[in-house]
Protein backbone atom coordinates (compact mmCIF):
# COMPACT_ATOMS: atom_id res chain seq x y z
CA UNK A 1 0.00 0.00 0.00
CA UNK A 2 1.47 3.42 -0.92
CA UNK A 3 2.39 5.61 2.04
CA UNK A 4 0.16 8.67 2.58
CA UNK A 5 1.93 11.98 1.97
CA UNK A 6 2.75 13.93 5.14
CA UNK A 7 0.53 16.80 3.98
CA UNK A 8 -1.93 16.78 1.07
CA UNK A 9 -4.17 19.72 0.24
CA UNK A 10 -6.74 19.15 -2.49
CA UNK A 11 -8.92 21.91 -3.93
CA UNK A 12 -9.08 23.52 -0.50
CA UNK A 13 -11.50 26.43 -0.17
CA UNK A 14 -12.20 28.47 2.95
CA UNK A 15 -14.83 31.17 2.93
CA UNK A 16 -15.47 33.33 6.01
CA UNK A 17 -19.06 34.53 5.67
CA UNK A 18 -18.77 35.71 2.06
CA UNK A 19 -15.03 36.43 1.81
CA UNK A 20 -12.88 33.66 0.34
CA UNK A 21 -9.67 33.44 2.39
CA UNK A 22 -8.39 30.45 0.41
CA UNK A 23 -9.69 29.75 -3.04
CA UNK A 24 -9.17 26.20 -4.27
CA UNK A 25 -5.51 25.47 -3.62
CA UNK A 26 -3.83 22.07 -4.00
CA UNK A 27 -0.38 20.84 -3.08
CA UNK A 28 1.30 17.76 -1.64
CA UNK A 29 4.45 17.72 0.47
CA UNK A 30 7.03 14.98 0.19
CA UNK A 31 8.34 13.23 3.33
CA UNK A 32 11.40 14.96 4.77
CA UNK A 33 10.90 18.13 2.73
CA UNK A 34 11.04 21.70 4.01
CA UNK A 35 8.55 23.89 2.17
CA UNK A 36 7.97 27.61 2.52
CA UNK A 37 4.50 29.07 2.25
CA UNK A 38 4.96 32.67 1.19
CA UNK A 39 2.54 35.47 0.63
CA UNK A 40 1.65 38.97 1.75
CA UNK A 41 -0.78 39.71 4.55
CA UNK A 42 -4.19 38.23 3.78
CA UNK A 43 -2.79 35.79 1.21
CA UNK A 44 -4.30 32.82 3.09
CA UNK A 45 -1.14 31.33 4.64
CA UNK A 46 -2.39 31.32 8.23
CA UNK A 47 -5.76 29.88 7.23
CA UNK A 48 -3.99 27.13 5.29
CA UNK A 49 -1.65 26.26 8.17
CA UNK A 50 -4.49 26.41 10.72
CA UNK A 51 -6.55 24.05 8.58
CA UNK A 52 -3.64 21.63 8.30
CA UNK A 53 -3.46 21.69 12.12
CA UNK A 54 -7.18 20.95 12.40
CA UNK A 55 -8.15 24.35 13.82
CA UNK A 56 -10.33 25.30 10.87
CA UNK A 57 -12.90 23.29 8.94
CA UNK A 58 -12.57 23.67 5.15
CA UNK A 59 -15.59 25.09 3.34
CA UNK A 60 -14.81 22.56 0.60
CA UNK A 61 -11.94 20.41 -0.55
CA UNK A 62 -9.82 18.07 1.49
CA UNK A 63 -6.80 18.48 3.74
CA UNK A 64 -5.00 15.39 5.03
CA UNK A 65 -2.02 14.95 7.32
CA UNK A 66 -0.30 11.55 7.34
CA UNK A 67 -3.44 10.16 5.75
CA UNK A 68 -5.89 11.57 8.31
CA UNK A 69 -8.51 14.03 7.12
CA UNK A 70 -8.40 17.30 9.04
CA UNK A 71 -10.12 18.20 11.26
CA UNK A 72 -12.41 15.13 11.28
CA UNK A 73 -9.73 12.53 11.97
CA UNK A 74 -7.25 14.81 13.72
CA UNK A 75 -6.81 12.70 16.85
CA UNK A 76 -5.24 9.97 14.72
CA UNK A 77 -2.26 12.21 13.93
CA UNK A 78 -2.02 15.14 16.36
CA UNK A 79 0.45 13.16 18.43
CA UNK A 80 2.84 13.12 15.44
CA UNK A 81 2.55 16.84 14.66
CA UNK A 82 3.52 20.07 16.34
CA UNK A 83 3.53 23.80 15.75
CA UNK A 84 5.54 26.88 16.64
CA UNK A 85 4.54 30.49 16.21
CA UNK A 86 5.41 33.74 17.95
CA UNK A 87 1.66 34.42 18.05
CA UNK A 88 0.94 31.44 20.30
CA UNK A 89 2.82 31.35 23.58
CA UNK A 90 3.55 28.84 26.26
CA UNK A 91 2.36 29.94 29.74
CA UNK A 92 4.75 32.61 31.00
CA UNK A 93 4.38 31.99 34.75
CA UNK A 94 5.47 28.38 34.48
CA UNK A 95 9.14 27.51 34.43
CA UNK A 96 10.61 26.08 31.23
CA UNK A 97 10.76 22.61 32.79
CA UNK A 98 7.13 22.84 33.98
CA UNK A 99 5.97 23.87 30.52
CA UNK A 100 7.88 21.05 28.85
CA UNK A 101 6.54 18.59 31.45
CA UNK A 102 2.95 19.65 30.79
CA UNK A 103 3.29 19.46 27.00
CA UNK A 104 5.29 16.23 27.21
CA UNK A 105 2.46 14.63 29.16
CA UNK A 106 -0.13 16.00 26.73
CA UNK A 107 1.79 14.35 23.89
CA UNK A 108 2.32 11.19 25.94
CA UNK A 109 6.11 11.38 25.56
CA UNK A 110 7.99 8.37 26.92
CA UNK A 111 10.82 8.99 29.35
CA UNK A 112 9.95 12.66 29.60
CA UNK A 113 12.81 13.62 31.92
CA UNK A 114 15.31 12.31 29.41
CA UNK A 115 13.57 14.12 26.54
CA UNK A 116 13.55 17.42 28.46
CA UNK A 117 17.26 16.98 29.25
CA UNK A 118 17.95 16.26 25.55
CA UNK A 119 16.06 19.37 24.44
CA UNK A 120 17.77 21.41 27.15
CA UNK A 121 21.10 20.34 25.70
CA UNK A 122 20.16 20.65 22.00
CA UNK A 123 18.53 24.06 22.31
CA UNK A 124 20.92 25.45 24.89
CA UNK A 125 18.21 25.66 27.53
CA UNK A 126 19.82 23.52 30.24
CA UNK A 127 20.61 26.50 32.48
CA UNK A 128 17.18 28.03 31.95
CA UNK A 129 15.01 25.00 32.72
CA UNK A 130 14.06 26.15 36.21
CA UNK A 131 13.46 29.79 35.36
CA UNK A 132 9.96 31.21 34.75
CA UNK A 133 9.43 31.44 30.99
CA UNK A 134 8.17 35.02 31.30
CA UNK A 135 11.55 36.13 32.70
CA UNK A 136 13.46 35.05 29.58
CA UNK A 137 14.58 37.19 26.65
CA UNK A 138 12.75 37.05 23.29
CA UNK A 139 15.40 34.74 21.85
CA UNK A 140 15.26 32.42 24.85
CA UNK A 141 11.45 32.32 24.69
CA UNK A 142 11.65 31.35 21.01
CA UNK A 143 13.95 28.48 21.96
CA UNK A 144 11.43 27.39 24.60
CA UNK A 145 8.63 27.48 22.00
CA UNK A 146 10.82 25.45 19.71
CA UNK A 147 11.50 22.95 22.50
CA UNK A 148 7.74 22.68 23.01
CA UNK A 149 7.30 22.12 19.26
CA UNK A 150 9.92 19.36 19.25
CA UNK A 151 8.94 17.71 22.57
CA UNK A 152 7.12 14.85 20.80
CA UNK A 153 9.69 14.40 17.99
CA UNK A 154 7.04 15.38 15.41
CA UNK A 155 7.03 13.88 11.93
CA UNK A 156 5.17 16.96 10.67
CA UNK A 157 6.23 20.37 11.94
CA UNK A 158 4.37 23.58 11.13
CA UNK A 159 6.20 26.82 11.72
CA UNK A 160 4.69 30.28 11.49
CA UNK A 161 7.48 32.86 11.30
CA UNK A 162 9.75 30.93 13.65
CA UNK A 163 12.41 33.64 13.81
CA UNK A 164 10.24 36.77 13.86
CA UNK A 165 11.58 39.43 16.26
CA UNK A 166 14.90 37.62 16.78
CA UNK A 167 18.29 39.20 16.25
CA UNK A 168 20.18 37.86 13.19
CA UNK A 169 22.55 35.75 15.29
CA UNK A 170 19.78 34.03 17.31
CA UNK A 171 17.66 33.63 14.17
CA UNK A 172 20.54 31.92 12.40
CA UNK A 173 21.12 29.67 15.41
CA UNK A 174 17.42 28.67 15.44
CA UNK A 175 17.51 27.90 11.70
CA UNK A 176 20.55 25.70 12.23
CA UNK A 177 18.75 23.71 14.92
CA UNK A 178 15.65 23.33 12.78
CA UNK A 179 17.70 22.18 9.83
CA UNK A 180 19.51 19.62 11.95
CA UNK A 181 16.27 18.29 13.46
CA UNK A 182 14.65 17.83 10.04
CA UNK A 183 17.69 16.12 8.61
CA UNK A 184 18.07 13.72 11.54
CA UNK A 185 14.39 12.96 11.96
CA UNK A 186 13.43 13.09 8.26
CA UNK A 187 10.57 15.34 9.40
CA UNK A 188 8.37 17.27 6.98
CA UNK A 189 8.19 20.99 7.61
CA UNK A 190 5.81 23.64 6.32
CA UNK A 191 7.07 27.09 7.10
CA UNK A 192 5.30 30.43 6.76
CA UNK A 193 7.79 33.26 6.77
CA UNK A 194 8.38 36.79 5.59
CA UNK A 195 12.12 36.32 5.95
CA UNK A 196 13.49 35.40 2.53
CA UNK A 197 16.98 34.69 3.85
CA UNK A 198 15.41 32.07 6.06
CA UNK A 199 13.46 30.60 3.17
CA UNK A 200 16.52 30.48 0.90
CA UNK A 201 18.58 28.76 3.57
CA UNK A 202 16.03 26.23 4.83
CA UNK A 203 13.57 25.41 2.10
CA UNK A 204 13.78 23.05 -0.82
CA UNK A 205 10.43 24.19 -2.19
CA UNK A 206 8.51 27.47 -2.19
CA UNK A 207 4.77 27.95 -2.59
CA UNK A 208 3.75 31.56 -3.16
CA UNK A 209 0.18 32.53 -2.34
CA UNK A 210 -1.74 35.64 -3.27
CA UNK A 211 -5.36 36.45 -2.47
CA UNK A 212 -6.11 32.88 -1.46
CA UNK A 213 -4.59 31.24 -4.53
CA UNK A 214 -1.27 29.65 -5.35
CA UNK A 215 0.58 32.06 -7.58
CA UNK A 216 3.66 29.91 -8.05
CA UNK A 217 5.18 26.71 -6.69
CA UNK A 218 8.69 25.40 -7.37
CA UNK A 219 12.18 24.86 -6.01
CA UNK A 220 13.96 28.16 -5.19
CA UNK A 221 16.51 27.87 -8.02
CA UNK A 222 13.80 27.44 -10.66
CA UNK A 223 11.79 30.34 -9.26
CA UNK A 224 14.82 32.63 -9.43
CA UNK A 225 15.45 31.57 -13.01
CA UNK A 226 11.80 31.89 -14.05
CA UNK A 227 11.51 35.46 -12.73
CA UNK A 228 15.04 36.41 -13.76
CA UNK A 229 15.88 37.47 -10.21
CA UNK A 230 18.84 36.95 -7.90
CA UNK A 231 16.94 36.66 -4.62
CA UNK A 232 13.61 35.25 -3.46
CA UNK A 233 12.83 38.62 -1.96
CA UNK A 234 12.74 40.09 -5.47
CA UNK A 235 10.56 37.22 -6.66
CA UNK A 236 8.25 37.76 -3.72
CA UNK A 237 7.97 41.48 -4.49
CA UNK A 238 7.23 40.75 -8.16
CA UNK A 239 4.36 38.49 -7.17
CA UNK A 240 3.08 40.67 -4.34
CA UNK A 241 3.04 43.80 -6.53
CA UNK A 242 1.41 42.06 -9.44
CA UNK A 243 4.50 42.18 -11.65
CA UNK A 244 5.01 38.43 -11.66
CA UNK A 245 3.76 37.92 -15.24
CA UNK A 246 5.95 40.69 -16.65
CA UNK A 247 9.02 39.47 -14.76
CA UNK A 248 8.48 35.94 -16.08
CA UNK A 249 8.06 37.16 -19.65
CA UNK A 250 11.14 39.33 -19.39
CA UNK A 251 13.16 36.40 -18.03
CA UNK A 252 12.04 34.22 -20.90
Amino acid sequence: MPQSPPIAVERFVKIYKTDPAVDGISFTLAPGSITALLGGNGAGKTTTIATIMGLITPTSGRVTVLGAEMPRQRYRVLQRMNFESPYVEVPMRLTVRQNLTVFGKLYNVDDLRKRIAELGHELDLADLLDRPTGNLSAGQKTRVSLAKALINNPDVLLLDEPTASLDPDTADWVRGRLERYCRNRHATVLLASHNMTEVERLCDRVIIMKRGRIEDDDIPAKLLKRYGRRTLEEVFLDVARGNGGEAREAAQ
Binding site: A50, L55, Y75, Q79, M81, N82, S85, E89, Q98, L106
Partner: protein
Protein backbone atom coordinates in the same frame (compact mmCIF):
# COMPACT_ATOMS: atom_id res chain seq x y z
CA UNK B 1 -11.37 -4.75 28.56
CA UNK B 2 -9.01 -4.76 25.57
CA UNK B 3 -5.38 -3.63 25.80
CA UNK B 4 -6.02 -0.84 23.30
CA UNK B 5 -8.93 0.46 25.37
CA UNK B 6 -6.87 0.37 28.57
CA UNK B 7 -4.05 2.20 26.84
CA UNK B 8 -6.46 4.86 25.52
CA UNK B 9 -7.88 5.39 29.02
CA UNK B 10 -4.37 5.66 30.49
CA UNK B 11 -3.37 8.22 27.83
CA UNK B 12 -6.53 10.18 28.47
CA UNK B 13 -5.87 10.19 32.24
CA UNK B 14 -2.32 11.37 31.56
CA UNK B 15 -3.54 14.29 29.48
CA UNK B 16 -6.10 15.28 32.13
CA UNK B 17 -3.39 15.12 34.80
CA UNK B 18 -1.12 17.24 32.55
CA UNK B 19 -3.74 19.99 32.46
CA UNK B 20 -4.27 19.78 36.22
CA UNK B 21 -0.53 20.00 36.70
CA UNK B 22 -0.40 23.09 34.47
CA UNK B 23 -2.98 24.88 36.63
CA UNK B 24 -1.46 23.65 39.87
CA UNK B 25 1.94 25.06 38.82
CA UNK B 26 0.20 28.34 38.01
CA UNK B 27 -1.58 28.58 41.37
CA UNK B 28 1.58 27.62 43.25
CA UNK B 29 3.59 30.29 41.50
CA UNK B 30 1.21 33.15 42.24
CA UNK B 31 0.19 34.18 45.77
CA UNK B 32 -2.18 36.91 44.47
CA UNK B 33 -4.16 34.20 42.70
CA UNK B 34 -4.35 32.12 45.89
CA UNK B 35 -5.35 35.14 47.96
CA UNK B 36 -8.01 36.09 45.43
CA UNK B 37 -9.57 32.64 45.71
CA UNK B 38 -9.97 32.89 49.50
CA UNK B 39 -10.49 36.52 50.41
CA UNK B 40 -13.92 37.33 48.95
CA UNK B 41 -15.70 34.26 50.40
CA UNK B 42 -14.24 35.24 53.78
CA UNK B 43 -15.53 38.82 53.49
CA UNK B 44 -18.97 37.53 52.49
CA UNK B 45 -19.17 35.04 55.29
CA UNK B 46 -18.08 37.52 57.95
CA UNK B 47 -20.51 40.23 56.74
CA UNK B 48 -23.53 37.94 56.59
CA UNK B 49 -22.50 36.18 59.78
CA UNK B 50 -22.56 39.42 61.78
CA UNK B 51 -25.85 40.46 60.18
CA UNK B 52 -27.42 37.20 61.18
CA UNK B 53 -25.95 37.49 64.66
CA UNK B 54 -27.60 40.88 65.05
CA UNK B 55 -31.03 39.79 63.72
CA UNK B 56 -31.05 36.57 65.70
CA UNK B 57 -30.60 38.50 68.93
CA UNK B 58 -33.67 40.64 68.12
CA UNK B 59 -36.22 38.34 66.47
CA UNK B 60 -37.56 35.01 67.61
CA UNK B 61 -37.98 33.43 64.18
CA UNK B 62 -34.43 34.12 63.11
CA UNK B 63 -33.19 32.87 66.46
CA UNK B 64 -34.77 29.53 65.51
CA UNK B 65 -33.43 29.75 62.02
CA UNK B 66 -29.87 30.06 63.23
CA UNK B 67 -27.37 29.40 60.44
CA UNK B 68 -29.72 30.10 57.53
CA UNK B 69 -27.81 33.12 56.30
CA UNK B 70 -24.35 31.75 56.82
CA UNK B 71 -25.47 28.45 55.32
CA UNK B 72 -26.88 30.28 52.31
CA UNK B 73 -23.69 32.31 51.90
CA UNK B 74 -21.49 29.22 52.05
CA UNK B 75 -23.67 27.24 49.63
CA UNK B 76 -23.94 30.20 47.25
CA UNK B 77 -20.17 30.45 47.28
CA UNK B 78 -19.91 26.77 46.33
CA UNK B 79 -22.12 27.53 43.34
CA UNK B 80 -20.48 30.81 42.37
CA UNK B 81 -16.87 29.89 43.15
CA UNK B 82 -17.28 26.50 41.48
CA UNK B 83 -18.25 28.20 38.23
CA UNK B 84 -15.62 30.88 38.63
CA UNK B 85 -12.94 28.24 39.33
CA UNK B 86 -13.86 26.51 36.09
CA UNK B 87 -14.13 29.68 34.00
CA UNK B 88 -10.99 31.35 35.37
CA UNK B 89 -8.92 28.24 34.63
CA UNK B 90 -10.25 28.39 31.08
CA UNK B 91 -9.60 32.13 30.85
CA UNK B 92 -6.02 31.59 32.07
CA UNK B 93 -5.39 29.71 28.81
CA UNK B 94 -6.77 32.61 26.78
CA UNK B 95 -4.88 35.24 28.78
CA UNK B 96 -1.69 33.18 28.33
CA UNK B 97 -2.37 32.82 24.55
CA UNK B 98 -1.93 29.10 25.09
CA UNK B 99 -5.25 27.92 23.68
CA UNK B 100 -3.77 27.36 20.21
CA UNK B 101 -1.12 25.07 21.69
CA UNK B 102 -3.78 23.05 23.50
CA UNK B 103 -6.11 22.85 20.53
CA UNK B 104 -3.42 21.35 18.29
CA UNK B 105 -2.27 18.92 20.98
CA UNK B 106 -3.87 15.48 21.40
CA UNK B 107 -5.93 16.86 24.32
CA UNK B 108 -9.61 16.07 23.65
CA UNK B 109 -12.26 18.71 24.45
CA UNK B 110 -13.86 16.38 26.99
CA UNK B 111 -10.50 15.84 28.69
CA UNK B 112 -9.99 19.60 28.80
CA UNK B 113 -13.41 20.01 30.39
CA UNK B 114 -12.70 17.19 32.88
CA UNK B 115 -9.42 18.84 33.94
CA UNK B 116 -11.18 22.19 34.41
CA UNK B 117 -13.90 20.50 36.50
CA UNK B 118 -11.30 18.95 38.80
CA UNK B 119 -9.42 22.25 39.04
CA UNK B 120 -12.63 24.03 40.01
CA UNK B 121 -12.89 21.65 42.99
CA UNK B 122 -9.25 22.30 43.89
CA UNK B 123 -9.80 26.06 43.73
CA UNK B 124 -13.03 25.69 45.70
CA UNK B 125 -11.26 23.69 48.40
CA UNK B 126 -8.51 26.33 48.67
CA UNK B 127 -11.11 29.10 48.97
CA UNK B 128 -13.87 27.46 50.97
CA UNK B 129 -12.27 25.17 53.53
CA UNK B 130 -10.61 28.03 55.45
CA UNK B 131 -13.88 30.00 55.28
CA UNK B 132 -15.94 27.13 56.70
CA UNK B 133 -13.44 26.80 59.54
CA UNK B 134 -13.69 30.53 60.22
CA UNK B 135 -17.51 30.21 60.31
CA UNK B 136 -17.12 27.69 63.12
CA UNK B 137 -14.65 29.89 64.98
CA UNK B 138 -16.56 33.19 64.58
CA UNK B 139 -20.22 32.16 64.64
CA UNK B 140 -20.30 28.56 65.83
CA UNK B 141 -21.82 27.53 62.48
CA UNK B 142 -20.44 24.16 61.45
CA UNK B 143 -21.51 23.42 57.89
CA UNK B 144 -19.94 19.96 58.19
CA UNK B 145 -22.55 19.08 60.82
CA UNK B 146 -25.00 18.88 57.90
CA UNK B 147 -23.27 15.56 57.13
CA UNK B 148 -24.62 13.63 54.17
CA UNK B 149 -26.99 16.45 53.34
CA UNK B 150 -23.98 18.67 52.72
CA UNK B 151 -22.65 16.10 50.27
CA UNK B 152 -25.98 16.17 48.40
CA UNK B 153 -26.05 19.99 48.43
CA UNK B 154 -22.44 20.16 47.25
CA UNK B 155 -22.90 17.62 44.45
CA UNK B 156 -25.92 19.45 43.06
CA UNK B 157 -24.39 22.92 43.32
CA UNK B 158 -21.08 21.92 41.76
CA UNK B 159 -22.90 20.23 38.86
CA UNK B 160 -24.82 23.43 38.16
CA UNK B 161 -21.64 25.49 38.44
CA UNK B 162 -19.91 23.23 35.92
CA UNK B 163 -22.85 23.46 33.52
CA UNK B 164 -22.62 27.26 33.56
CA UNK B 165 -18.81 27.14 33.34
CA UNK B 166 -18.85 24.77 30.35
CA UNK B 167 -21.42 26.90 28.52
CA UNK B 168 -19.46 30.12 29.16
CA UNK B 169 -16.22 28.47 27.97
CA UNK B 170 -17.94 27.42 24.75
CA UNK B 171 -19.12 30.98 24.18
CA UNK B 172 -15.57 32.26 24.85
CA UNK B 173 -14.15 29.79 22.32
CA UNK B 174 -16.64 30.86 19.73
CA UNK B 175 -16.67 34.62 20.40
CA UNK B 176 -13.30 35.36 21.98
CA UNK B 177 -12.50 37.60 24.91
CA UNK B 178 -15.39 39.93 24.08
CA UNK B 179 -17.54 37.44 26.02
CA UNK B 180 -15.26 37.45 29.09
CA UNK B 181 -17.69 39.42 31.26
CA UNK B 182 -20.14 36.51 31.03
CA UNK B 183 -17.72 34.43 33.06
CA UNK B 184 -17.89 36.93 35.92
CA UNK B 185 -21.55 37.88 35.81
CA UNK B 186 -23.73 35.10 34.40
CA UNK B 187 -24.10 33.33 37.73
CA UNK B 188 -25.59 36.47 39.31
CA UNK B 189 -28.65 36.04 37.09
CA UNK B 190 -29.32 32.92 39.11
CA UNK B 191 -28.98 34.60 42.50
CA UNK B 192 -32.46 36.16 42.78
CA UNK B 193 -34.10 33.31 40.87
CA UNK B 194 -32.69 30.46 42.93
CA UNK B 195 -33.84 32.10 46.18
CA UNK B 196 -30.53 31.96 47.97
CA UNK B 197 -31.61 34.05 50.98
CA UNK B 198 -35.42 33.70 50.99
CA UNK B 199 -38.01 30.95 50.41
CA UNK B 200 -39.40 30.36 46.91
CA UNK B 201 -42.85 31.34 48.23
CA UNK B 202 -41.56 34.95 48.43
CA UNK B 203 -41.54 35.18 44.61
CA UNK B 204 -44.64 35.96 42.52
CA UNK B 205 -46.24 32.72 41.35
CA UNK B 206 -45.17 33.06 37.69
CA UNK B 207 -41.57 33.52 38.76
CA UNK B 208 -41.77 30.51 41.04
CA UNK B 209 -42.13 28.34 37.93
CA UNK B 210 -38.84 29.71 36.63
CA UNK B 211 -37.24 29.29 40.03
CA UNK B 212 -38.25 25.62 40.30
CA UNK B 213 -36.70 24.95 36.90
CA UNK B 214 -33.26 25.74 38.35
CA UNK B 215 -31.44 23.03 40.37
CA UNK B 216 -29.90 25.35 43.01
CA UNK B 217 -33.41 26.42 44.14
CA UNK B 218 -33.96 22.89 45.47
CA UNK B 219 -30.66 23.01 47.32
CA UNK B 220 -31.38 26.33 49.06
CA UNK B 221 -34.91 25.22 49.96
CA UNK B 222 -33.44 21.94 51.22
CA UNK B 223 -30.88 23.79 53.31
CA UNK B 224 -33.58 25.94 54.93
CA UNK B 225 -35.71 22.87 55.65
CA UNK B 226 -32.73 21.21 57.28
CA UNK B 227 -31.60 24.17 59.36
CA UNK B 228 -35.05 25.41 60.41
CA UNK B 229 -37.13 22.19 60.59
CA UNK B 230 -34.28 19.67 60.95
CA UNK B 231 -35.73 17.76 58.01
CA UNK B 232 -33.65 16.42 55.10
CA UNK B 233 -35.72 16.69 51.91
CA UNK B 234 -34.35 13.85 49.77
CA UNK B 235 -37.14 14.51 47.24
CA UNK B 236 -35.77 18.00 46.59
CA UNK B 237 -32.26 16.62 46.08
CA UNK B 238 -33.47 14.02 43.60
CA UNK B 239 -35.34 16.63 41.58
CA UNK B 240 -32.25 18.86 41.58
CA UNK B 241 -30.17 15.92 40.44
CA UNK B 242 -32.52 15.16 37.54
CA UNK B 243 -32.50 18.80 36.42
CA UNK B 244 -28.71 18.90 36.73
CA UNK B 245 -28.40 15.86 34.47
CA UNK B 246 -30.40 17.73 31.81
CA UNK B 247 -28.49 21.02 32.18
CA UNK B 248 -25.07 19.35 32.31
CA UNK B 249 -25.77 17.31 29.16
CA UNK B 250 -27.08 20.40 27.40
CA UNK B 251 -23.96 22.36 28.43
CA UNK B 252 -21.59 19.67 27.11
CA UNK B 253 -23.49 19.42 23.81
CA UNK B 254 -23.50 23.24 23.50
CA UNK B 255 -19.75 23.38 24.21
CA UNK B 256 -19.02 20.83 21.49
CA UNK B 257 -21.28 22.63 19.04
CA UNK B 258 -19.68 26.00 19.82
CA UNK B 259 -16.24 24.43 19.35
CA UNK B 260 -17.36 23.08 16.00
CA UNK B 261 -18.67 26.50 15.06
CA UNK B 262 -15.36 28.09 16.18
CA UNK B 263 -13.57 25.71 13.77
CA UNK B 264 -15.87 26.82 10.96
CA UNK B 265 -15.41 30.52 11.78
CA UNK B 266 -11.66 30.26 12.31
CA UNK B 267 -11.93 31.78 15.78
CA UNK B 268 -9.65 29.22 17.47
CA UNK B 269 -6.63 30.99 16.02
CA UNK B 270 -7.62 34.26 17.66
CA UNK B 271 -7.98 34.70 21.36
CA UNK B 272 -8.42 38.46 21.30
CA UNK B 273 -11.60 40.49 21.27
Amino acid sequence: MSVAYKSAVASSARRISAMMLRHWYLLRSSWPRLLDIAYWPTVQMVTWGFLQYYIASNAGFFARAGGTFIGAVLLWDILFRGQLGFSVSFLEEMWARNLGNLMISPLRPIEFVAALMIMSIVRLAIGMVPVTLLAIAFFGFNIYSLGLALAAFFANLILTSWSVGILVSGVLLRNGMGAESLAWTLMFVLMPLTCVYYPVATLPSWLQVVSWSLPPTYVFEGMRALVISHEFRADLMLQACALNAVYFSAAVVSFLQLLKSARRQGSLMQSGE
